[in-house]
Structure formats: structure tokens, C-alpha cells
């Protein structure tokens, strides 16, 4: 007679586990495919542990219905609700986000039955789809609460069930009215929710973060969701690359932005144009035949080159990585915006380099080229080597080699085109011409 559980005990436990967590959901799955609940959405998860809403309960509580509608009407529009509606109106992930934001039980028009407080964390097949249990538990606790402040309004609405309520099925309408309004306080919480250090959560929601429709302003605002210190951190990470650390994983972390790439490219365009002009001015300063020209055309050429490099090369690289990803399964593939981000931030080191290229010494310029190429090239290599190293050896090396080669081509090309060669000053040799007059050959 021992208290140590024997193998028989384990068998019993396992069977109980299977029964409770797997078999019972299977039996409840029949609930929402039943034809007598037409107002339930098919992708909606079934109610847990509660009184199942059958045909007798669904329409028999207009107060509950009205209360739900009022919650919908009263809840403020927010980014999470846009996400929710853009995803087709269901899912617990965005409803949990809406709960974090609204706090007033703003769950949207789920027409599920009343859910009592959950007993514990839910395991099983469906849990990968939703957020960790924090939001869900709190949300379920709010279910059991009554809302006395809506009581009289609820009765009004119950008296007139056809009263108009706000619909949030039009994500295009809401942002237009929100333009110019101050940023809602819920947005910071939304940011915390979406971009925090929990990598599981971040991975789940990284794809969902930008699910506002692309014709709304909010969609583009998600690309500018960075603070000053984040931008400065990313710039620092590109100028001082830590060997072995991946720029994307370390700094970008599924929050790629367009602010850095765009403004670094613009600054680089003007830095190269201005520095080139200044350097040419200083080189040709003493000459009597030299007339200074502002060379404004070169600005547009510089802009075309740099923006084409910073946007088309990432596009090609992204397409290439996608193609290889479809052939070799375990290649890490970055999203297009992350690649644009890496390229944009890696160009930052060329800005001080371009300013230092004003110094009219060949040696100094080439040392600067090598140095900046090493720094920015190492950022790119450390980002993309883990992505292709599982591939065929030659293709991986060819990819990384092409990246570095294009980068080198950009810097050398800019140096050659915008900065005239510094002149070597030795006295000009006097060459006697054939017909007796002397010509002074100048460099």
C-alpha cells in the first residue's frame, strides 16, 4: 500500500485529461454548427463551461442583447477595434486588445452566450490562436458583472430594438473623422501590447499589426510608430555593429519603421551634393579660370541613385529570399519593411563619411571608403548571413557577396561622380611643341 502513484494512476490521469480538455470540446463543437443558431458566426469559438445558448435562450433576453449593443455604441473607436473589424469581426486576440483599451467590456458585437468566470488557463487546440491568458481572464471576469448604469438605457433600447446603433464595420469612415484629433490614450497601451518583449506575442501580432486597410491613414501611421530614443538606438546599432548580433532581431524586433530609412536617405542625398560642391570649390579655389557653379543638377542625380538603391535593392533581395524560402524550408525570411529598415539605417554611416570626403587627399578618401564599407557592410552581412546560411553554400556566399559588392559600388560611385579628384601639385612640365612654340601641359 503505497502513496506513490503507480502506473495505473497515470493512466487514469491521462484519460481524465483527454476527456476534459479534448473530448468535451469535440462534443461542444456540434453546438455552433447546429442549424438553430443562425446568428452565431461559424468561426466563433464555442462558449466555455456555461449554459449553452440554445433556441430558447437566444432571443429570450432582449436586455442582454440591448446591453451588448449599448456596449458597442458606447465603446470608443480605436485602433484595436479597426483591427478587429478588419479581420472580419471575430477572434479573441483583438477582443482582448479591445478589452485592454476600452476597459468597459468593449468587446464588440459578439453574440455569444454569457460566459462565467474561467476556471484556469485553457489548454488545447485553440490556445495557440489567442493571446496568453492575461487579457482573457480579465475579460471573462467582466462578463459576470452587471452594468447598472446601462440599465435604464438598456430598457430604452429594449423598448425600441430597432434603434440605430453605431456600426464599426466601416474602418474607412472612422479615421477620416479622427484626423487632426489628438492621439488616443489607448494607443500607447496598444503599442505596449503589440511591440513588447514577449516574442511569442510579438510574433503572433506582428502580422496583425498592420491590418488596417491600406487606404486609411492609420495604416501608414503604423510605419512611423517610433520614438526618438528608438531611432537613436537603431542609428547607434548601425554605426557600432556588435559582432554576432543581428540588427533586425536586436533593434527592429518586428517594429520596422519608415522614418529612419526615408530621412537618412534624404540627408545623405543633400550631404553628398553639398559636400561634393564644397570639395570641388576648395580644390579649384586658386585657379584663375575657375568660376564657381552650384551644380544643382547633381542633387536630383544623387536623389535618384540613393533612393533607388535603398528601395529597389531591398525589393530584389526580399523577392530572392522569398523564392529561396519556398525551396529550402528553414530559411529565415525577413519582411520587406525590415529589409528596407536595415538598408536605410546601414546608410547612416555614409553621412559623416561624405562630409569628411571634403578633405582633398586621395589616401584619406580611400581609407574612409574602406572604413565605412566595413561598418555598414558588416551590419548587412550579419543580418543576412543567418538568413541564407542554411541554403546551398555557393548560393549563400553569392548572395552575401552581391550585397557587399552593391554597397561598395554605391560608395565608390558616389565618390567618383560627386567629388573631383584632388589634384597633385607638382610643377607643370614644359613640353616643346612641334612648331616651336612651348605648351604648358597642365593636369
Amino acid at each position: 500500500m503505497s502513496i506513490i502513484p503507480t502506473q495505473a494512476h497515470y493512466v487514469v490521469y491521462i484519460y481524465m485529461y483527454i476527456f476534459i480538455y479534448v473530448k468535451v470540446p469535440v462534443s461542444r463543437r456540434a453546438f455552433y454548427t447546429a442549424p438553430d443558431n443562425p446568428h452565431l458566426y461559424r468561426h466563433q469559438p464555442p462558449p466555455r463551461w456555461g449554459r449553452a445558448a440554445g433556441p430558447l435562450t437566444a432571443r429570450a433576453e432582449p436586455e442582454e442583447e440591448a446591453r451588448r449593443r449599448l456596449r458597442l455604441a458606447a465603446a470608443p473607436p480605436s485602433v484595436a477595434r479597426l483591427l478587429w473589424s478588419a479581420r472580419g469581426g471575430g477572434g479573441e486576440a483583438s477582443s482582448a486588445a479591445a478589452c485592454w483599451l476600452g476597459g468597459r467590456g468593449a468587446r464588440g458585437p459578439f453574440k455569444r452566450a454569457e460566459r462565467p468566470v474561467r476556471a484556469g488557463r485553457r489548454q488545447g487546440a485553440g490556445s495557440r490562436r489567442r493571446l496568453p491568458g492575461r487579457g482573457g481572464g480579465r475579460m471573462a471576469a467582466a462578463d459576470g458583472l452587471q452594468f447598472p448604469e446601462f440599465a435604464d438605457a438598456a430598457s430604452l433600447l429594449a423598448a425600441n430594438p430597432d434603434a440605430t446603433t453605431v456600426s464599426i464595420e466601416e474602418p474607412a469612415e472612422a479615421p477620416r473623422s479622427q484626423r487632426g484629433r489628438p492621439q488616443e490614450p489607448g494607443r500607447e497601451e496598444d503599442d505596449e501590447l503589440l511591440g513588447t518583449d514577449d516574442s511569442d506575442k510579438a510574433e503572433l501580432l506582428a502580422g496583425q499589426k498592420k491590418s488596417a486597410p491600406f487606404w486609411t491613414f492609420e495604416y501608414y501611421q503604423t510605419f512611423f510608430d517610433v520614438d526618438t530614443y528608438q531611432v537613436l538606438d537603431r542609428i547607434k546599432g548601425s554605426v557600432f555593429p556588435v559582432p554576432g548580433r543581428n540588427f533586425v532581431r536586436l533593434y527592429i524586433r518586428s517594429n520596422p519603421d519608415l522614418y529612419g530609412p526615408f530621412w537618412i536617405c534624404t540627408t545623405l542625398v543633400f550631404a553628398i551634393a553639398v559636400s561634393g560642391n564644397l570639395s570641388n570649390f576648395f580644390i579649384h579655389l586658386g585657379k584663375p579660370t575657375y568660376h564657381y557653379v552650384p551644380e544643382f543638377r547633381k542633387v536630383s542625380i544623387a536623389a535618384t541613385t540613393i533612393f533607388a538603391y535603398a528601395w529597389l535593392v531591398p525589393l530584389a533581395l526580399w523577392g530572392f529570399l522569398m523564392w529561396r524560402n519556398s525551396k529550402v524550408m528553414n530559411i529565415v525570411s525577413y519582411s520587406f519593411l525590415e529589409i528596407v529598415c536595415v538598408y536605410g539605417y546601414s546608410l547612416f554611416v555614409y553621412i559623416p563619411t561624405a562630409i569628411l570626403w571634403i578633405i582633398p587627399q586621395k589616401v584619406v578618401r580611400w581609407v574612409l571608403v574602406m572604413f565605412s564599407l566595413c561598418l555598414s557592410g558588416s551590419v548587412l552581412v550579419m543580418t543576412f548571413w543567418p538568413a541564407v546560411r542554411d541554403d546551398n553554400r555557393r548560393i549563400a556566399l553569392a548572395t552575401v557577396g552581391t550585397i557587399v559588392l552593391l554597397h561598395a559600388l554605391l560608395s565608390v560611385g558616389c565618390l567618383a561622380y560627386f567629388f573631383d579628384a584632388p589634384e597633385v601639385d607638382f610643377p607643370a612640365p614644359i613640353v616643346p611643341a612641334h612648331n616651336g612654340t612651348t605648351l604648358i601641359k597642365s593636369q
Binding site: F217, T228, W263, T266
Partner: protein, 186 residues
């Protein structure tokens, strides 16, 4: 009775007075909201056209290497102002589109004054001294423009992103100052 009369002309004395008042506000930037409340784009248009006209005469022998043409100055100023406004709105600013355009356009006024001074100095001569005078004037006006526009625009930004919004304004006025400083008459 006056309220019922419709505006019969595009531009009236009242508009001129409003534009003049805004010019004064730019030159002496205080925390007033006159620039923001009733925005108009007359002032920026006048400033942009005059600046582009004054920068016009700097073409070299070949068109390739000369200074900016009229269209280039126009495009840089307006397109740059639009891009900065979009940038500030995307970062979460509460200012409206045309208000921001209005402020950025009006704050080009000190640089237009600098251009005028530069042209007058260049009439006197184009040696080193004139270059130093022009450099000092342009730098002072560039600082004035940037500070004036920052004073008007910085309050409407989220506090942790102010530097992200101010930097493009700095770059914008820097480019205009560069165009003014490198102007050489033919």
C-alpha cells in the same frame, strides 16, 4: 448687413492685412496662435515666388551646372513642406495639414530677407568679405526660421517625438539656406 455680402474678389484688403499680421508674427515669434488659427497660403505663395525669382539669375554657361531654376526652387519648397507636414502627422501630430503648410511657408520669410540682403551685397562685390557677410546673414536667418517654425509647431507633437519632427524642418531650411548662400550671379 456686411455679413451677407459674399466675397466678390479673390483677394481683398482684409486678406492683405491678415498676411501682414502673420509676417509680423513670424519676425517676432511669440506663443500666439494667429498663424495657426486662421491659416492662409497667400503669404507662402508670395514668399516662394519672390525667392524663386531672386534665385533665378544664377545660371552658369551650361544649364547643367547652374543654380536651381525657378521650377526647382518652387518644387523644393512646396514638396518639402508637404513632406514635412505628412511626416509630422504620421508621427502623431495634432496639427492640421494646411496649418502646418502655412507655418512652414511663412517661416521662409527670414530667408527671403537674407536673399535680398545677399543680392544687395553681391552688387557691391563678390570677394571674401562679401562672402563672409553673406555667410553670417544667411546663418542668422536660417537659425531664426528654424526657431520660429519650431516655436509654432513643436507644441502639437507628442513629447517623445519632438526631435523626430524638428529635424526635417532643420534640414528643409538648411537646404534653402544652401541655395541662397551658393547663389552666384552670372
Amino acid at each position: 448687413m456686411k455679413r451677407q455680402i459674399k466675397v466678390t474678389s479673390l483677394f481683398q484688403m482684409r486678406d492683405l492685412k491678415a498676411v501682414g499680421k502673420k509676417f509680423v508674427h513670424v519676425m517676432y515669434p511669440k506663443k500666439s496662435s494667429a498663424l495657426l488659427r486662421d491659416w492662409d497660403l497667400w503669404g507662402p505663395l508670395v514668399l516662394c515666388v519672390s525667392l524663386a525669382l531672386m534665385l533665378q539669375g544664377g545660371s552658369a554657361d551650361s544649364k547643367e551646372d547652374g543654380g536651381p531654376q525657378f521650377a526647382e526652387v518652387f518644387v523644393i519648397i512646396w514638396f518639402g513642406a508637404v513632406v514635412i507636414t505628412l511626416n509630422s502627422k504620421l508621427l502623431g501630430g495634432t496639427i492640421s495639414f494646411f496649418q502646418s503648410l502655412c507655418v512652414l511657408g511663412y517661416c521662409v520669410l527670414p530667408l527671403t530677407v537674407a536673399m535680398l540682403v545677399c543680392r544687395l551685397v553681391l552688387l557691391a562685390g563678390s570677394g571674401t568679405i562679401s562672402f563672409i557677410v553673406r555667410l553670417i546673414v544667411v546663418m542668422a536667418m536660417f537659425g531664426w526660421s528654424t526657431l520660429a517654425s519650431t516655436a509654432f509647431l513643436a507644441d502639437s507633437q507628442p513629447p517623445n517625438r519632438k526631435a523626430l519632427v524638428v529635424y526635417p524642418i532643420f534640414l528643409f531650411y538648411f537646404v534653402i539656406s544652401w541655395m541662397i548662400l551658393t547663389f552666384t550671379p552670372q
